[in-house]
Amino acid sequence: MENSPSYFHEFVQAAKGDLIVQPRMGFCAFSKMREGLSRVKNIEAATIGTITLDSFTRTGDFASAAKAIKNNSALNGYPIVSHGKARNQELIDGLIGTDFPIQVRHGCSKPEHIFKAIVETGIDASEGGPISYCFPYGKVPLKESIRSWQTCSEIFAAVEHKKYHLESFGGCMMGQLCPPSMLIAITVVEALFFKRFGIRSYSVSLTQGSNILQDIAALTALRLVGEKYLGPREDWHVVYYTFMGKFPETMNGARAIMRDSVVVAKAGQARRLIVKTVMEAHQIPTIDDNIEALELAHQDFHDPSTSLSQEIKPGMVEAIFEEADFLIDLLLNLDSKIEIAIDVAFKKGYWDVPFCLHPNNNNSALAKLNNEGFILWANAGKIPFPNHIIRNNFSKEKKLSSSELLMMLSFNQFKYDTFNQAETPVLQHVSC
C-alpha cells in the first residue's frame, strides 16, 4: 500500500473519450460482494467498482452490523467497518488496480470510521459531502456534519504519495424536484470544501431530471461553473446519475429512461455515469441486473443514435449558469472560510433546498414541474435572487396540493411507461 498508485484518479485520467460506467452495488455477504466486484471488473466497458455500505454502518450502529455478519443475516449493503481490515483487504485482493478502481458509497453524515476503514483497506475513493450526506438523511446538525467531513477530507489528504478521490453527491440532493442551479451550487461548493481541506482529486455530480433538454443544459452549465470556480481540469470531472426518483415500471419505460440518461451524459460531456437497472421499480437489483445495466449504458454511449441532434434553446445554459453562479458567489461572500459560509447560508435561508425537511434547511423555497417536465422555482423563499432571475425562471403558481406533488413525483414514471409501450426510438417523446 505504501507505494500504491492513485487507482481512481489514474483510471479516470486514462479513460478519456469513453464514458465510465458504475453500479450502486452493495451486499452484506463477503462472497457475494466479491463476486459482484469481480463481475463488474470483467465486463468490456470501462467500469469502476462500487461498494455500497449498509444502513447500520451509515448510522454508526457497528454492533448491529457485527451481529448481522455473525448471524449471516441480510443487510442492505457491505458493513466495511465491522468486517475489519484483513477481511476487507481480502475482498479487493487481486481486483483493485489502475485498471479497476473501487469507490465506497455510504450516505453517512459523520463518516470518520468509514474513511479510516477505506484507507486501511487500500481503497482510494469515496463520495458524499457535508451538505449532501447530511440534509437528505435524517437530523444530524449541519455543523456536526461539516466538522466531520473536514476531518474525513483531512484523513484522505494526509496520505501524501497518493491522490485520494472524493466525489460530491451534491448534484443529487433529494433525488428529484430540485432546480438544477441549486444542485450545481451545492456540488461545486462541496468540491471547494474538499479542496480547502487538501483533496487533490475530486468530482462534481448531477442527476437526471424530467426534461432531457433542461438536463443537458444543466450538465453543460455545471461544467462551466466548475471551470470558473474549481482548480485545474485534470483534478476534477463531472459524474452523472441516471434518474433517482420513482422509476418507470415497464421494461421499455425503464430502458428508455436509462438510455436518455446516456444521451444527456454524452451531450453534456460527463466522464462517469452511475446507472440504475430495469428492475429499479420492483426490487433491489441483483448482480445480473447491474451487469446488464452497465453493458447497456456502454453500448448506448457508443451508439451514434444517442448523439443529440437537437439544439438546446438559446439562453438555457446561460440562465442555469447565472443562477448557480449567483448562489455560489453569495455563499462565498458570507465568510472567507467556506465551512462557516455553508452554515450561514442555510441559517439565513439564502440557500434553501426545496422539499428538504432537515431542521437546518429553511424549507420555504418551492420548486415545481411545468407541463414539459422542466424543474422551475415556484417560490424562492428567502433566496435573494435578483429580479430578472425571478421574472425569467419562476413558475407562476406558488401553492402546491398533495395530488400535484404526487403527479410531479410520478412524472417520469408516467411519461416513460406511457410513451414506451412499443419500441420507441429515443427522444421521440420529447417536446421542444
Binding site: 435524517g138 437530523k139 432537515h358 431542521p359 398533495s402
Partner: protein
C-alpha cells in the same frame, strides 16, 4: 381551533417525500401539522405528543421496517397512560415483502394502532377517518 396532527416516521427511515405528501394531505383536510421529519426517534414522538397534545398521530414509513419499528413505537406510546386513547395511524410500505402486508397490518393493529394503511388500502378511506376525527375534535 383546528385539529392538530403530529406527523412522524420511524427511527431508521430517512425518506422525505412521503412526509411532505402527507403534510399537504393533512393540511388540505384542515389539520394543523407538526411534521417531525425523517429518522425520528421514539423519544421525539413521545415528547411531541405530550407537548403538542395532537388530535391524531400519523406515522408514515416507506423503508420496509414499519412492521418492526412501527410496532415498538406504538408499544411505547400506549405504555403512557395519558396517550393510551390517542388515535394513532400508520401507513406506507410497511415491509419489503408486499405479500406480507396484510398479516403485518393485523399485527400492528393488535399492537395498538387505531388504523393501518398498507399500500393496498385507499387514501380516500384514510381521509374519511381523518374527517371523522376532525369532527369529533371540533
Amino acid at each position: 381551533m383546528k385539529p392538530r396532527a403530529v406527523l412522524t416516521t420511524i427511527p431508521s427511515d430517512s425518506h422525505n417525500w412521503n412526509l411532505i405528501y402527507m403534510q399537504l394531505l393533512l393540511e388540505e383536510n384542515d389539520f394543523e401539522v407538526i411534521n417531525l421529519g425523517a429518522c425520528t426517534t421514539y423519544e421525539e414522538v413521545e415528547q411531541a405528543c405530550l407537548e403538542f397534545k395532537p388530535t391524531v398521530i400519523v406515522v408514515s414509513t416507506v423503508n420496509g421496517h414499519g412492521y418492526l419499528e412501527g410496532k415498538t413505537l406504538i408499544e411505547k406510546i400506549r405504555a403512557r397512560p395519558e396517550l393510551a386513547d390517542l388515535p394513532v395511524y400508520i401507513g406506507g410500505k410497511l415491509s419489503t415483502d408486499k405479500n406480507m402486508s396484510y398479516l403485518y397490518s393485523v399485527e400492528l393493529e393488535q399492537a395498538g394502532y387505531s388504523g393501518v394503511y398498507p399500500e393496498s388500502r385507499k387514501t380516500a378511506d384514510f381521509i374519511s377517518e381523518l374527517k371523522a376525527l376532525a369532527k369529533k375534535a371540533a
